[in-house]
Symmetry: C2
Subunit: 261 residues, 2 copies
Amino acid sequence: MPSHAEEPRGGLTIVGLGPGRREYMTARALKAIAAAEYVIGNASYLEPLGPLLAGKNVIRSSMGKEVERAQQAIDLARSHAVAIVSGGDAGVYGMASIVLEVLENSGAAVDVEVIPGVTAANAAASRVGSPLSGDFAVISLSDLLTPLEVIEQRLDAVFSVGIPVVLYNPKSRGRPHNFALAVSHARKYLAASTPVAIVKNALRDGEEIIITTLGEAEKCEGTVDMHSTVIIGGSESRIWRRGENVKGIITPRGYHRKYVY
Amino acid sequence: MPSHAEEPRGGLTIVGLGPGRREYMTARALKAIAAAEYVIGNASYLEPLGPLLAGKNVIRSSMGKEVERAQQAIDLARSHAVAIVSGGDAGVYGMASIVLEVLENSGAAVDVEVIPGVTAANAAASRVGSPLSGDFAVISLSDLLTPLEVIEQRLDAVFSVGIPVVLYNPKSRGRPHNFALAVSHARKYLAASTPVAIVKNALRDGEEIIITTLGEAEKCEGTVDMHSTVIIGGSESRIWRRGENVKGIITPRGYHRKYVY
């Protein structure tokens, strides 16, 4: 007869893995993976975990099967330790909401913990200076789950008050023109000189960074893809230089209004 | 004569430490601290680093001296490895922008790296379900560096399109009424039943969580302080229940519009 301590004890962690590389994961995220019997997630997020997955049941899922993945995770978590992983932060365009919704509907008495991670907005921003130093907004250009006219209203609202805007899912095969559409909304409110950063694979292999301006951004449409995060600066954002070289974007916090430096 | 490898080599890392506890820091952040000869930051952020600071020059600074702290960090970084730390993500209401601005003006040839961390929006959200699952905005209620009328315009814009809004610096001794002011702006656009989370000391000692609604939020004004992050749900956000118990907030991503679950 197994002792009490050996009885299977279920539980679910919803883990944000950050931009990708192990060094940008938190110790708490790694611990949750280590403690899991089952690890569920997209193959691209699981790959950097490498040897951490040895001896575990690994369920590689693909985009567009989020509801099934959530149901499967909850079923398994009734009697097993399950970690379901998202890139970035699981609470931002990740698996947290659908898992919690399905859990609520199921009535299953499963312990659940959401473990935050470094989201793509912060990972991308760190690679181009400090574009999000103050207020900002995060908007996805994917119209799979949100109607395009709602996305456009949100873009107008946030651009109209001049705060920097981070665009997630800026382009995909199904919506090749959404990036240009977002730029055209920005141009209604912001100068052509407003800086724009396109960060592809931030802090992952294949990282690529383009610093441009709203006036020139459309020319970069070809380089924007589904692995890109785009940051459109606000009315106070400017190019950040070191000597003659463009290094990124700074959105000053406003110290210049109070101090001389 | 020192060998080449022993020559002092300067450099600056601007490090986001996440919500506070060591387990929510990234390995990259901890490595930067370990490699630093000088570590500069507010005492409250440095405290969790404990033994990691042994043998280092530690410069504890206080709020409101950010410009001096940035200048000091850059001067030291010409010939020493310096880490300047912020809570959360250094690029969000943290030290990154002012350090990069001062560096740009100084012309100093100092290598600099911004290391992202888990920002308070994501840390607080993870404690109350999944309130930021889709688009959202981050607005600080501190009017030290941004005029209050600009903050109010931004609040109107983001509340008017029904996206969840994270309020940083929701209250302090100098501005006791800004939380109630933000709630009154939200009420112009959102139902009284819209969920609100007040998360004090997210993922730190002394954590306290209140789930309420816009209609009731003003009654909670007394519990909001400068260590709190407030999340005001959007038009699609709702209370998340387990059985009879209120557990947090979910903002559905929209799967319910495409799938039955």
